[in-house]
């Protein structure tokens, strides 16, 4: 049932995806990639591209999904390390920075398409980020016994800060990155502390 044919098709599909990912870099955005370039890099005739994607946009959305997948693997990894004990904030930031270091181009893709010209891309990226945020929100609510709204606000702010730091890290050298990580950790502490203090007050006001 696997089908020697379907198998081969899947393989060249991957070649296209990998070719696209491989061309992404600091000075090459997805939107600047041409169908012909990607096909060529994958060792395909330009017109064969259409056997797999109807559009460069369709390829792009696939890439965003891949990126989201990578991001979620990251979270799983983080959770495991956190369960072994240690500062949640420190571990999270360190893991995220490691992600940037080894997946810079994937992260760039997310950053760029988030503010890009395609509504579909923007929506796709925001969806991935909202998964990320939601998981953090659940964690905060459970671990810190926070009000749902407060946890949501804190999670959103934290993810924003971390992503922004990741963006800065892309252009930074090793030295700067350490400083960046320290800064981010402090800022996340500010937010956590503020959420604790003001969260209680919001609760009181509600009752």
């Amino acid at each position: 049932m696997s089908g020697i044919r379907a198998q081969q098709k899947e393989k060249t599909r991957r070649q296209l995806i990998d070719a696209a990912l491989g061309q992404l870099s600091a000075d090459r955005s997805f939107s600047s990639l041409s169908l012909r370039e990607v096909a060529k890099e994958a060792g395909l005739a330009p017109t064969s591209f259409y056997r797999h994607f109807s559009d460069m946009d369709e390829l792009g959305l696939t890439l965003v999904d891949e990126a989201g997948l990578t991001l979620r693997q990251l979270m799983r990894q983080a959770r495991q390390r956190i369960e072994k004990g240690g500062s949640v904030i420190q571990i999270s930031v360190r893991i995220f920075m490691e992600f940037i270091e080894s997946n810079g181009n994937i992260f760039r893709l997310l950053l760029r398409e988030r503010s890009g010209t395609s509504p579909a891309f923007r929506a796709a990226v925001n969806r991935e980020i909202s998964y990320f945020t939601l998981e953090l929100c659940d964690y905060l609510q459970q671990a810190n016994k926070l009000d749902a709204e407060v946890a949501s606000l804190q999670a959103n702010a934290a993810v924003t800060i971390v992503f922004s730091a990741g963006s800065d890290a892309l252009d930074a050298d090793k030295k700067d990155r350490e400083h960046l990580a320290y800064r981010t950790i402090q800022q996340l502490r500010f937010i956590a502390r503020g959420a604790m203090e003001l969260g209680q007050r919001i609760e009181v006001n509600k009752s």
Copy 2:
């Protein structure tokens, strides 16, 4: 000495700038603009473009400067309203949201080029944002008597949060924007409170 000639030149230069700004929109980024399109929109022959800019990049950097100017005018406006009294955070967020509403495309330009493919563009945008942050930092240090480092951390975090909210606001309708503004205000309060509390502790540790 003004020179009827230099005067005319300046005028068509502005036409080019305005033509470029006018073409920017939610689904049209600067990098997708072609020299020919801009020249045409400005009512010029393609080759005449070179009399004013050597490159589309040069035009782009000029646009970023313009955007930075607009941003600084915004700050001046905010300071005036704050001096008349009222919540600093609330007024700042409201003003920023008004800015997004009436200068969406300029803000989009900054957002996009910040993560774009041109190092020069990225640097230019980050410079403008750092002016913004520095002014806020000075204010915080002075008004809240904060430690320089703490003020810097808080200012950076606040600007990050506000810009991110601005980014979200671009795709939001009026209803969503109010909610967004509320969320942002809460988050800024978290940060401010956290900075106050933890800032003191940092001071203590230092001594």
